[in-house]
Symmetry: C2
Subunit: 225 residues, 2 copies
């Protein structure tokens, strides 16, 4: 699958064409799916006559958004962990991914660095969605503050919290050092992700697995609503 700017007259970017030919070993004439990132997709064939051109388009199909929409926020962490978090949350089907600053975050990014990092995370989400054939891209939000996210309905994850359910569709996973006193003060109930000590990225993936599995009906909540 490849994302295109315009599904009515789709053309592949140079990077996506390269990926299809070199990594996925597709050849001229092969069928592929092109999608607009908003849930619409159609089949097409690689045109042997012109690199990156497409022909023989199928009808435009649409995958309706899954409900409820699910969001996971994660405290900024060092190294390649934000990319791994975004890649896996995209694969698992989370709709909105929100990096945030926590008081105990090790990372201190200025505005320019945060903008650059988020742009990079959006590319990671796009590549992961292509790889996993998800025609709908998750939104990767700008870096936010905990208090604003709680005000917007987010719930903090913490050991000992109540079990997850779809009544809590927006979960924030804190930094390895935990939530600060002032962050805890703004929040209401906490949700728990199980009894174990988890690293930040493992906690984000766990929240995503449980939320999407509850939505998909693979498991049911402890207290049925």
């Amino acid at each position: 699958m490849a994302f295109v700017a315009d599904l009515r007259g789709p053309a592949l970017s140079k990077e996506d064409l390269h990926h299809l030919l070199r990594v996925l070993r597709q050849r001229a004439g092969d069928q592929l799916t092109v999608a607009d990132g908003e849930g619409r997709w159609r089949t097409a064939r690689l045109d042997p006559a012109e690199a990156g051109a497409l022909r023989e388009f199928g009808p435009v199909c649409e995958l309706p958004p899954a409900t409820p929409p699910l969001a996971v926020g994660f405290a900024l962490v060092k190294g390649d962990k934000p990319e791994l978090i975004v890649q896996k949350l995209t694969e698992l089907g989370i709709d909105r991914i929100v990096p945030f600053r926590a008081e105990r975050s090790v990372v201190r990014w200025d505005v320019a660095k945060a903008a650059k990092a988020v742009a990079r995370l959006r590319l990671v989400a796009r590549a992961a969605a292509q790889q996993c054939h998800r025609p709908r891209l998750p939104e990767v939000a700008d870096v936010a503050e905990v208090a604003a996210l709680v005000a917007a309905g987010a719930t903090l994850a913490e050991r000992g919290g109540v079990p997850l359910s779809l009544q809590v569709p927006f979960v924030l996973v804190g930094p390895e050092g935990g939530w600060s006193v002032s962050e805890g003060a703004v929040a209401g109930d906490r949700v728990g992700l199980g009894p174990h000590v988890l690293r930040a990225e493992t906690a984000a993936w766990t929240a995503a697995v449980l939320l999407t599995s509850l939505r998909d009906g693979t498991v049911t909540p402890v207290h049925n609503p």
Copy 2:
């Protein structure tokens, strides 16, 4: 937390002492937990007089094994993915981790290379258990064959399979290319991990999150047994 060879007269290895002092910044006189990897642990203090020596031991405590024991097998994959899989499965509380050869595995290891890789994976499990304060180490099994694992009660994971439950406590996650015809022929029912296409490592983590969450009571199975 640090693992020791003998809980009755524990002493730290050079590597663990280095980690405690340099990475975790503990100092002589600080309290820590030492564990035997089989569920028993006690508190102790770093002896200021002798590097690696311990004193002021607390009583030996024991964490009983969680029931049922849970096992996840994964097809050998390239690069650092086996290490990431073992690290996360250990954190999540899986009791037995089984790397296996699948017909569509990209990786073809000879006996010597497989033994070396498994020894390395055991060190990864040990480090992850220390980091997450798990006094019981998971077993990292030798590289196995699919048919033998199915004969021992393992169930293959595949899209469209029945929802996971604790009646299926040993799940095998296949290679990215899927199961071969002959591998499918030896198996009975399949379990599903949800509707999405998942990379091999994401599928292994998803199985681990769902199995441990079912055991911990964080979620309940779709069909209550």
